[in-house]
Structure formats: C-alpha cells, structure tokens
C-alpha cells in the first residue's frame, strides 16, 4: 500500500493499548464479514455500542421498567428518577442545564422541532411570547451548502410556510465554507442561522464562534447541528453561545431511537408546542389546553425511556475515556486518512486538505468507479464504509459527483484499520479496470 507519513498523536491522545482495551467492550468487533475481520469505518452513519450501554438498558428492563412521569408506584418512580438523572448528565456533557435538554427520537426530529417554532409562530400559534419566532416575507434564513438534508429540508419547509427567503453560505473549492462572504450573507434581514459544526461529508470543523458572533451582531438566532461534533470533540454549548442545538444518540455509542435538542431556557419557554398530547399539558378540557413548561412541553407521549437510559450509559462511557483524549486520537486517525487518500492515484479527497482542522472522517471520489462499487469491493474485504450521498446531495453536487465513499472513525478504531481501508482503496480502480 501507499504509505502515509507516520502519524503523530498529541500527548493527550488515547494510546493504542487503551484503544485495544476499549475494543473489547464492543463484541461486534469480533465478527467476521465475508471471511474477514470487521473493519468498521461507518460511525458517522451510526456508531457501535459498548456492553455498558446494552447492560444499562437490559438491567432497566429486567428491574425497573415503568412509565415515566405517570402514576406513583415504585417502578414508575424509579424509571422517572433514572430518566431525569440522565437528562442532567447529558446536559452536563453538553455544557448545558437539565431543563434546556428536550428528548427527541433523533437529531432530525430535534431540528424539525426547532424549525416548527418558526412555522407555528408565523401562523399565530403561541401568542405574543412566540413573536421572536415569527417570520415574514423579506426575512431570511441562512444555512450552508454543506448541510445534511435534516438541517436543510426543514428550513425549506419553514421558507415555504412563512415566505422567508432561504440563503446559504457556499462551499469553496478548498472544501471549506466561504466565510469570507459571511458579512454579505448574514445581515439585518437574517433571523436564523442554522449550520453544522462538522459536515458529515467533508469532516472539516467550522469555526462556530465566528458565525455566532456575527449572528449576535444582527440579532439572528443560531441553530447548531452537533451530530458529528458532540460525539467526537469536547463541547460546551453555553460557552459557544448558540441558541439551539441537536444531536442523535446512536452516533455517540448510544442506542437508536433517542436524541436531544438543546435550547436556551427563555427560548423554549417562548416556543409554541410541537407534537401535542400526553405529557405536554397541565390542564385539558374538550376545547382548550394549557401547555406545561419546557422541556416536557415538547416531549409528547411516552418517551423512549430505555433508550434515554442507554444514552446515559454512553455519555458516562465517553466521559470516563475523556473527550479531549478521544478528539486527539481521532485527529490522528483523520490526518492519517486524509494524507493516505491523497497519495492514491485517481482518488480525490472531498473536503479540507490534510492538515486543516478535521475529525476522523474523509470522503473521496474514485475516478471512474461508482461509490457503490467501491463500497462493495471494500465490504468483500470486511471493510464497512458509507457510500452514497450521505443525505447531503448539495455537497456532492457542488463537487461534481452524485455519490462518494466515506470512512469515519471513532475511539475504537486503530491506525491499522485506517491502513486496511487505504490499502483496499488503492486496489479499487484496478479491480474495475479503470486507469493505469
């Protein structure tokens, strides 16, 4: 294989010995795929889960399962206590307060919840309190060209419902946002700025505070998609100063079916209800409902209790390992990936060039070979990568491709797994009879 420069890790990074031990917590890594040991490089789609997470959910089911915030018996009380304890833990993990965290089924629901405030307030729901969310023709919503569909399509819907104009920060040829255009795009007309801290295709780390500072100048609300950052980087939402954020548990060692949305307390309070029904209310008559305070106002129906319990275990696991050490380890893997793919003929790196800030994620285009064919060949060697548009068609369109091949890491990946990927990638064009 082409040999990337020897990777250096900063002193705070995990060691290979630690990662080897961490891998033992994930039995799925013992699995063979097509006769090869599984090399899992698809964490950006969904992460694997350690035994601690599975165990927490199982022991909840075997011992405590009861309905949360409903009734008063012992199981219900234990379940409620666990549920609210995890809310506080996840809030602390994110640098937020417990009552600023609303449970959702995934990040997509969280982003829709936030976007719904603008639709509902503009339709007159929520009364004068909600005026801060009301949009009118002439108002602008600013997003970026690198957004995941889940932070793009909901804003198209807001625009369609309210008449506000959707604008976006374009991507440059260098795979980074054109922040040089920020002052032209983020103006007095801008009411909301929604963007991801880390693109799930490009892997670059966006300078959040620069955008937030500008948004504050013009009084626009900020919505940060932390799906690809919260699992991988130390995060402090209060310090970042964003107004809203959203993430998914399944991308950070947690189970599917749970995520959360963060919002500043006053904003949640001012927001009209989203999904309505059980738990969102204080008093209901046949023709009128008083809604309860946040976060419950936005948690309609029986919640994903056992998944919340699982997410709590995931966050504890991450905190025990230490987010700065995970980030440093993944930075090493990301650099190795970016440098590695750059040396393979006919392979083009999408996103910032090696050396620029990035997480452990690269997407590439293999000249003359469709990404799904690349992925199939890698899968035959036990290597699981994501192929397709990764729910971000505009990014692909921007770089002239329909689909790409993405390798993404986590705390459980090793340099030799990265090398296995690079090795296999080097063989792709030959297999399909393309190029030299």
């Amino acid at each position: 294989m082409t040999s990337p420069s020897v990777s250096k890790t900063s002193p705070e990074a995990l060691t290979l010995a630690e990662v080897t031990r961490i891998r033992e917590d994930f039995p799925i890594f013992g699995r063979q795929v097509n006769g090869h040991p599984l090399v899992y490089l698809d964490t950006a789609a969904t992460s694997q889960r350690p035994l601690a997470v599975l165990g927490a959910m199982r022991s909840f089911d075997l011992q405590h399962n009861g309905s949360v915030h409903r009734g008063a018996h012992t199981l219900a009380a234990e379940s409620t206590e666990l549920f609210e304890t995890v809310r506080a833990e996840v809030a602390a993990f994110l640098g937020a307060d417990a009552d600023e965290v609303v449970w959702t089924k995934n990040a997509t629901e969280g982003l829709n919840l936030i976007a719904s405030a603008f639709v509902n307030a503009s339709a007159g729901r929520g009364g004068p309190d909600a005026d801060i969310f009301a949009l009118h023709p002439g108002d602008e919503i600013l997003i970026t060209e690198s957004e995941h569909h889940s932070n793009l399509v909901p804003w198209q819907e807001v625009s369609a419902h309210t008449g506000a104009t959707l604008r976006w920060i374009p991507l440059g040829d260098d795979g980074e946002l054109r922040l040089d255009l920020l002052d032209d795009l983020l103006t007095e007309r801008t009411r909301v700025v929604a963007f991801a801290q880390v693109s799930n295709v490009l892997g670059g780390i966006v300078p959040v505070s620069r955008i937030v500072a500008r948004a504050r100048e013009v009084g626009a609300l900020t919505v940060l998609d932390v799906c690809q950052s919260a699992p991988h980087l130390p995060l402090d939402l209060h310090t970042l100063g964003v107004d809203f954020a959203a993430l998914s548990g399944h991308k950070m060692l947690g189970p599917t079916g749970v995520g959360c949305a963060y919002g500043r307390r006053e904003l949640w309070k001012a927001m009209p209800p989203f999904l309505t029904g059980g738990s969102t209310i204080t008093t209901v008559t046949m023709d009128h409902t008083d809604f309860i305070d946040p976060p419950e106002r936005f948690e309609a129906g029986t919640q994903m209790t056992e998944q919340v319990v699982g997410l709590g275990a995931a966050v504890r696991y991450l905190q025990q390992v230490g987010m700065p050490r995970i980030a440093a380890w993944e930075q090493m893997l990301g650099t190795r990936l970016a440098e590695g793919v750059t040396t393979i003929p006919g392979v083009r790196l999408l996103g910032p060039s090696a050396g620029r800030p990035r997480t452990g994620l690269v997407s590439v285009d293999v000249e003359g070979v469709h990404a799904h064919d690349v992925g199939q060949l890698l899968d035959a060697q036990g290597i699981a990568v994501r192929v397709g548009h990764h729910c971000a068609q505009p990014v692909h369109h921007r770089y002239g491709v329909t689909a790409s091949t993405r390798a993404s890491t986590y705390l459980y990946n090793t340099p030799s797994e990265v090398d296995a990927f690079l090795d296999a990638l080097s063989g792709v064009r030959h297999y399909f009879g393309v190029g030299a």
């Binding site: 009734g71 008063a72 219900a76 009380a77 409620t80 009552d99 204080t282 008083d290 305070d293 419950e296």
Partner: protein, 163 residues
C-alpha cells in the same frame, strides 16, 4: 405494610389533611397564585395578604391528595407572621429538603408540625404534592410585592422545574 409508608402518612399528616387549616379564599388579596400539578391534575389557589413586610394572612382553596392538603394546611399555620425574608428562607429550606431524597430534614424549631412532611422526600413522585402550595405561596408573595395590593392571579404550573 412497610415502615416507609408510615413515614409518609404520619398521624399529623392525616389529621392536617382533614383539618385543612386556612381553607377558603376571598375575592380580594394582595397576591394570589393558582398552581396545577400536571401529573395528577390537582390544583390549588393560594392568597396572601401583607401587613408591611409581614404575612398577615394566608388562605387557600384546592383539592388534592392527603400530602398536598396537609402541606397547605401546615403552611397556613406556619406562614402568618413571617416577614418576607423569613418566608423566602423557609420556602428555600422546604424545597431543598423535599428534593433531597431523604438526605435532609426540616428543622423542627422552624417548621413545627411541618417536620411530619420529612418522609415525603423519599417518595419522588409525591414531592410535587408537598410543594404545590409552597410554590403557589412563593408566587403569590412575588405578586403581592410586584403589584403592591392587587387582585392579580397568576397561573403557572407546578412543573418539575418549579418544584
């Protein structure tokens, strides 16, 4: 029947819940607050009158479980005569103890019969019951201070964040 239950339903609690000291609201008050416990739908209205910076009267009306009725009744017995600072102080202590999950106790010299409510803090689903009248009291006081003498009636919910 376990001991814990007897901790919750002490004789004083059962008696106070029947006695309902302070029950009955009037048309006018210096401050008034209506609180709903969303888990059960129970409601209470607490009215306070001030004489200078002293609570001169506390009245309430509502329905709820034994714990909530006893708590309101005990509050009525305690609060008359408190000055604003004392009232705030007692509310904070009460909240802290109720939230303590059995780790803290109400001081007897300050809370008298109220110490019968100590057991509640170990029953997480009942903390709101004990808190409901105290949250309404806190809010009614705030209203009395904000508006001078008026008939303002705030409706807020005794949600998790309030208790």
């Amino acid at each position: 029947m376990s001991n814990a239950l007897e901790d919750l339903y002490q004789t004083i609690i059962l008696e106070q819940a029947k006695a309902r000291t302070g029950e009955g609201i009037e048309e006018h008050s210096d401050g008034s607050s209506h609180q709903v416990n969303p888990t059960c739908g129970d409601e209470i209205t607490v009215q306070v009158d001030l004489d200078g910076d002293r609570v001169s009267a506390l009245r309430w009306e509502g329905d709820g479980c034994t714990i909530s009725m006893a708590s309101a009744s005990i509050l009525s017995e305690l609060a008359v005569g408190w000055d604003i600072d004392t009232a705030r102080d007692r509310i904070t202590t009460f909240r802290t103890v109720m939230r303590s999950r059995g780790a803290a106790e109400l001081p007897e010299e300050e809370f008298e019969d109220g110490i019968a409510l100590n057991g509640v803090s170990r029953f997480i689903m009942r903390v709101k019951c004990a808190m409901m009248s105290w949250v309404a009291f806190e809010d009614a006081l705030a209203q009395a201070l904000a508006t001078g003498a008026s008939h303002a009636t705030g409706t807020t919910s005794a949600g998790v964040s309030h208790c």
